[in-house]
Symmetry: C2
Subunit: 361 residues, 2 copies
Amino acid sequence: MSRAHNFSAGPATLPEPVLRQAQQEMLDWHGAGASIVELSHRGPEFMQVAAEAETDLRALLAIPDDYAVLFLAGGATTLQALIPLNFAAPGQAADYVVSGHWGKTAVKEARPYADVRIAASSEADGFRGIPARASWQLSEDAAYVHITANETIHGVEFRELPDVGAVPLVADFSSSIASEPLDIARFGLVYGGAQKNLGPAGISFAIVRRDLLERAGQPRAEILDYRAHAAKGSMLNTPPTWSWYLLGLTVRWMLEQGGVAEFARRNARKAALLYAAIDGSGGYYRNEVDPAARSRMNVPFFLHDAALDQPFLAAAKGAGLIGLKGHRALGGMRASLYNAMPEAGVQALADFMADFRQRHG
Amino acid sequence: MSRAHNFSAGPATLPEPVLRQAQQEMLDWHGAGASIVELSHRGPEFMQVAAEAETDLRALLAIPDDYAVLFLAGGATTLQALIPLNFAAPGQAADYVVSGHWGKTAVKEARPYADVRIAASSEADGFRGIPARASWQLSEDAAYVHITANETIHGVEFRELPDVGAVPLVADFSSSIASEPLDIARFGLVYGGAQKNLGPAGISFAIVRRDLLERAGQPRAEILDYRAHAAKGSMLNTPPTWSWYLLGLTVRWMLEQGGVAEFARRNARKAALLYAAIDGSGGYYRNEVDPAARSRMNVPFFLHDAALDQPFLAAAKGAGLIGLKGHRALGGMRASLYNAMPEAGVQALADFMADFRQRHG
């Protein structure tokens, strides 16, 4: 097959120019005589790649100087365990607002290390919305307040940043980082896995206000200590070099495309197009999320008859549209519309959905 | 430059056929319509890649069925922190035999979680040998005995496996796994980062006797729990998919080349060739390691005059020989001779060393 439109939720579609550059450089990076994947992380070639990736990410996200940027091995789940270890005293309260599957994961990973309190949850509602800020039960002594900015599985997104006062706001942005302008200064920590909007799986990012790195946290090994990683420029040990390299290429591509302001416009148009295809189908397709909390990145939807799921997926694949199967927790379909998904891909999906509905009406 | 002979200690040279295959498949994996780096880890394509990598690694290393194989994000240092968390009770003794830098790292990462005891150390000797087994002070109540099979920086290698009785032997094999046949059944745990003999940075392996997974260990987040990873086939969260894929290609290449028996022969010849070039230089070059403990994988060596280091490195690069700068802890030079380093590369290095000595005698 030639390249399909890939709606996978992550690992996810990457910009074709990024893949072409990685392909072209695979045997010999810039005349070094070896692939970047073969070169020492301490050598001048990779040090340059690493530094440029950080510089470019700082430019892309307008990260203030009083924030450190860490690139760490693994994904967001590992960070979820390390957040209380690094930023909460033993047994200290930490407030969690749960708006979907990944908020629950964050709670589960934190429980061994903090007095985790559910400040609000939309679980009783099937995670179809964001708990209203007025309903949150925040603790005055909390180490931080944790939210999941965008829920990849449930397709629910914070469209307004909550005010939590002086307590640091910690947010999992795995699936919406760089999708629109973001005021980093509102947060204590913005973190996530890279494998949706920023690059490949195997590397995660943590944008952390430097004063939080001074917190004692809890006894832990050095390799689990963010301050130690920050002191060594994320090279406390051998980092995931190729993933870091590909992240750098992806961030550079975003800057060249016009940055987050441009992607915010594209993403708004893409989401509007797909939600209109669903809402205008007379119930043939449906999305169950509160319209005020609908995710621009991940759009779960259901056919009116689940018996059509397999035919839909098979016909979609035949039309060059892949990665549409919904997460097993919800069933149905899911289309992820990350930055690297072109508007033409979403138009092709909307056209296919209309055509499928006609043929299987 | 065309492809050089790359003696980097890790990330390290990879087989050119592996890189060519990754290059060829970069835009579209086997007709899937997307790169393997873009495909869901839960989809049939990556599940196949992951399963084949495990099957091939089991074949390559003759891993018995009562051992689980884990592929984990990050490197050996992370595993070093998680070993006591998973396999030692809080405050339980753990014996460490320290024969170089990485043995010290293992001790440092374990200290927060166990009563770490230095059973033996060759540090007073500058890590130029392996402490004699008869000198080890082992604890009867130890959770395990930890060794570093091959010290990447100091160039010291266990050439005989120690008998430690009924206590599980845990070994960091980051830089010598798959370099020769290994009796896995002698170990409780064989672990390491992949970025020397098995593939790229960003993924590590743990070959663990299944009964050890039943140990309670210490309170910890699920993402830090090996039993949880084993139960989910190393897909507790999104794994480092591209690194796993490249590891699989590298392991497959090793099988096609004849497996570990063949690499043992090649590696013995390569090491003999380089040590002969050093020892036969009349002191122009020197390696300071006890000959009985010399590493076949990493050969640190010094020129008789450190003022020649920079000219040596510059001339070597001009001759297409890169990655020879020694680790900053030792200075001098280091040549790493992993499986993907061809004998022709080592011959070229030996020839260059003789020529340099003639020109700068």
